[in-house]
């Protein structure tokens, strides 16, 4: 937890970012599921006619 001894040469923020579990299969599976949802969203967004300004909040009953 402490970052102020001889073994630790990286600043705290970098260490947090290095916490990303690159080799963990469960983490990667979970990430892939989230990315799949993101990619689905982006494809559908691309296919919509542009009738609203970018970034506008859509009402929650939109997806009927």
């Amino acid at each position: 937890m402490d970052c102020h001894n001889e073994e630790c040469s990286r600043p705290q923020e970098e260490e947090d970012i290095m916490d990303i579990p690159l080799d963990d299969p469960e983490a990667n599976r979970a990430a892939a599921k989230i990315q799949a949802g993101f990619r689905g969203h982006m494809t559908r967004k691309k296919m919509k006619p542009e009738d609203k300004a970018e970034g506008e909040e859509r009402p929650e009953d939109r997806g009927q």
């Binding site: 979970a30 599921k33 949802g37 689905g40 939109r62 997806g63």
Partner: protein, 164 residues
Amino acid sequence: LIAHYQSLPQAASFTQAASFTPVNYREAFGLFDRVGDNKVAYNQVADIMRALGQNPTNKEVNRLLGMPSADDMTAKRVEFEGFLPMLQTIINSPNKAGYDDYVEGLRVFDKEGNGTVMGAELRIVLSTLGEKMSADEIDALMAGQEDENGCVNYETFVKHIMSV
């Protein structure tokens, strides 16, 4: 962190209405045929499924296509009758992610427990884990989502994702 990923809940399936106008799957499929042979290229299959409201992983699609090579993806084409069973497999797949899955997945990065994640950290995760996203994809995804401090309210973000 790892323990959290292992317990990602398996939400009941959710369906999402496609928000573009074709009346049926065949019509949607036809829109993607740019050659006029009533087929689409392998590399279009995932996008057609997404356009139809599904969220397949690239791995799932590759499996359905028989593990095609990069050349196959551009050169091989599939007709609607071949595409439909693939689509149905995705539609019927269990363990589809819903609102709670996305929120809980992102909550892992909410260090202060205040409902936000650092946009920069999210970008790193999306580009280094899972099915890595490109910088362009990430920019498109996150456009307008970060506040002036570079933070993302992830519940709002997920609602936005699920609204289309």
